[in-house]
């Protein structure tokens, strides 16, 4: 009975106001007496600072795109962000094992895999398409696409300091599996009636755990030609990250927790390394003759022009190199208070900040209610505001025998486009689901 109560309290600590988008605070297991095994936790985070409603608009009885003539320029692209980004993260915790140490501390070992990918597009691109070239010059340097896949092996240790204060830390060995990163450090486009010109400085970093990209006769990466045997899963990078956390319970019913997660990065080896650096000016097709002034002639000249542009844009192959790239850093503060008149109901507040190396940081603040019936279920709801507007979330868990099944869902207001599941508005969507098996304490 005593063990069961202890586990129930631990479950409450783990789940109370545990929003889906942040990993667990390493300090929250400090006071656990029993061990546990967590199997297959799945976590998904999707953060878009634009949604379908930034690109689709009602017009009469139908929907039109922002490029439709009925949509004003103040709405589109005026309603877009300076940099429009899409970020998705998928974490899969294969297994976690936690046990009480011989001393007062609590140990955890976790093995998982993480994947993330994203895209950012500057508003200027839509500005050109919608309005034309009158707004020249354009800065397109925030154009970026990336994707990373890496494994994570973590060891955590948490321990109480006194009766109401706990600290925890978690060290993670990161094993890089694959990475693609296309970055435009400089991409200036100038358009006028006399000439179009661009100045580009971009890098293409692709790991070669899979196949090696061949180079063409000019030394450019040729994506249509691959060589070598597939080595999917072979490490192409290594890194380290640290989590820190603390939990403070200054008086009965009140808990204050803070954590910093994923402080670190990965040293990737990019075997397929390329760079595009150069300027190009197009001031018209030259020496057009009468024979060129037909569809075939013009197409032929445009094809030659395209080849010229590609000679500047196409990444030139460089020797493979190592690059350190940080992983998204998350900081979170949470506070909860169990109501004195009914301790199963608690109120809470939290703040979350995520810093990215490739786009603007994300932040949010939420308040919520939690309802907890130990050994039966736990349920909570929260709402607040963040970088992309209103957000809400729900979280719940069910206990059955020695198992605890939990899940959470978070989103911004506005729902999704029916049948498409496309986020309607800028959103911060998170899903978490997992299963814990409790191990009885000795």
């Amino acid at each position: 009975m005593k063990k069961t109560i202890a586990f129930a309290l631990a479950a409450l600590a783990c789940s109370t106001l545990a929003w889906a988008q942040a990993g667990p605070n390493p300090a929250e297991v400090a006071t656990l007496d029993n061990g546990f095994i967590r199997i297959g936790e799945f976590r998904s985070v999707s953060r878009n600072n634009v949604g379908a409603s930034s690109f689709l608009f009602p017009s009469g009885e139908t929907l039109v795109t922002g490029l439709h003539s009925s949509v004003g320029t103040d709405v589109f692209p005026g309603g877009l962000m300076p940099v429009n980004s899409l970020y998705n993260q998928l974490d899969y915790n294969l297994v976690s094992y936690g046990w009480k140490g011989r001393t007062r501390g609590f140990h955890t070992v976790e093995v998982g895999v993480k994947g993330e990918y994203g895209l950012s597009v500057p508003r200027e691109i839509f500005q050109i398409l919608k309005c034309g070239t009158a707004g020249s010059p354009f800065d397109l340097s925030s154009l970026r696409a990336f994707g990373n896949l890496y494994g994570e092996i973590a060891y955590g240790y948490a321990f109480p300091l006194g009766d109401n204060f706990s600290v925890g830390t978690r060290a993670k060995l990161l094993v890089g599996l694959a990475s693609v990163d296309v970055v435009a450090h400089r991409f200036d486009l100038t358009t006028s009636a006399d000439k179009y010109s661009f100045d580009l400085d971009a890098n293409v970093d692709i790991t070669n755990s899979m196949k090696k990209i061949r180079t063409d006769e000019y030394g450019n990466l040729d994506y249509t030609s691959l060589t070598g045997k597939g080595k999917l899963g072979a490490p192409t990078g290594a890194g380290l990250a640290l989590d820190f956390g603390l939990e403070w319970k200054p008086f009965p019913g009140f808990t204050l927790a803070a954590s910093v997660l994923d402080l670190g990065g990965i040293l990737w080896y990019y075997g397929n390394e390329g760079y595009s650096n150069g300027a190009y000016t197009f001031d018209g097709l030259k020496e057009l003759g009468l024979g060129d002034l037909n569809a075939d002639g013009i197409t032929s000249r445009l094809k030659a022009l395209g080849d010229e542009v590609l000679s500047v844009v196409r990444p030139y192959h460089e020797e493979g190199c190592f690059k350190v790239k940080s992983i998204p850093l998350t900081a979170m503060v949470k506070a909860s208070y169990a109501m004195p008149f009914w301790e199963r109901l608690s109120v809470g507040a939290s703040g979350l900040y995520t810093g990215y190396s490739f786009c603007a940081p994300y932040w949010e603040a939420r308040g919520g209610l939690a309802l907890d019936f130990p050994e039966i279920f736990h349920l909570e709801a929260n709402a607040g505001s963040g970088s992309y507007g209103f957000v809400y979330g729900v979280y719940g868990s069910v206990n059955f025998l020695s198992f605890k099944l939990y899940g959470g869902y978070e989103n911004g207001i506005g729902g999704t486009v029916p049948y498409e599941s496309t986020p309607l508005k800028a959103n911060n969507k998170g899903i978490v689901a997992g299963l814990i098996y409790k191990i009885a304490a000795d």
């Binding site: 919608k130 034309g132 009636a193």
Partner: protein, 382 residues
Amino acid sequence: MKTGIIRIALSVSVLIALCGCRHDEYDISDGIDTEITLFADEVSLPVGDIGPLTPRVLLDNAGVGGMLKSFVQEDSDGYLILEQSEPFYTNWVMMLSMLSTDPSQPMDIPVDAYSAAPSSSSSTLSQMGFSLSPQVITLTADNPLTEEIAVSGKIVVSSNAEGDEAPATLASREFARAKVAAEAAQATVVSLEITGGKDIGSCRVEDVVLHLPASIMEKDSKSGMGAFSLSYNYKGYLSVVDGFPASLPFSIDKLDLPLAQYRVKEARIQAEVSSEIPITLELESVDVLVKNADDMLVPCEDVTVTPGIRIDSGRTGEPAVTPIDVRIQALNGTIPDINGFRLAVRILGPTTEGDNRLGLNQSIYVRNLRATVSGGITIQGL
């Protein structure tokens, strides 16, 4: 316990309601209108440079190059010319030696006067609006002797008679003892140039005398079978002095520009035309041709093209640069599918005096051609 269950039920209901929040106005089950209008304000883009275009290429492309060459010739530099050449005196050394009373003495041989009239092509070209300027009359001589000879005489160029008035003398030149080098062939004795596109009625060579040295038989490498000869040569360079009396219709009727689908309202085309051709071109009007229900080409009343485009004249090596600005505008709707253009082109004389010879190798460039489309380009379907 009952209160607790109610609280739980209420909480769950709120959460389900939040999760199910959707906007009906974004139901895309019926699809999205994929019509888009790009560059709604204005888009400008450089098109390029066209050229060099030469009259030779343009005339051949228009299918009139062969016709023109039936009237005129082309000299080695590509200038269009009318040319006549006719020997009017020939005599053998042996014959002249036999006529001489004392072959050991120098002798003067008088030559009969000669008159020539311009070819009929001249008047035909004149009726078409062309002029001949400059016109060069040259007297050439063949000297079979191993010693130089001399020629004297006079060239008189006269106009056509107008009514009862006698022909006027347009130009004349006397020449005395003009030298002809030993064993020269077609050596120029004298040359006379008339400018201004004057209408030549006749050209007379008179009072011509061959001044021969002594002992001409001994100085003929062909032992008396060599021949003295004199030739009249006329060369008139084609030019446009006053311009053509009426504008010329010029049609381009094999186009298929499917522009209607893009719903463009206005397009502006700007360029600098660099022309070496010594004529001034004035585009008086441009009709946009579209196909009617019977598949016939008819002018489109709704589309206007900026009239009054003028391209200044230049000359070989000294091109004139003229900026042009053409605006194609749909008055009410949008620019339709274009199947051709009907141009009214006025050909005027050059704006400057001097060497205004027309040549088939003179170049015309359309430089820095750029297009600006206002009001957007509409495309149906992404």
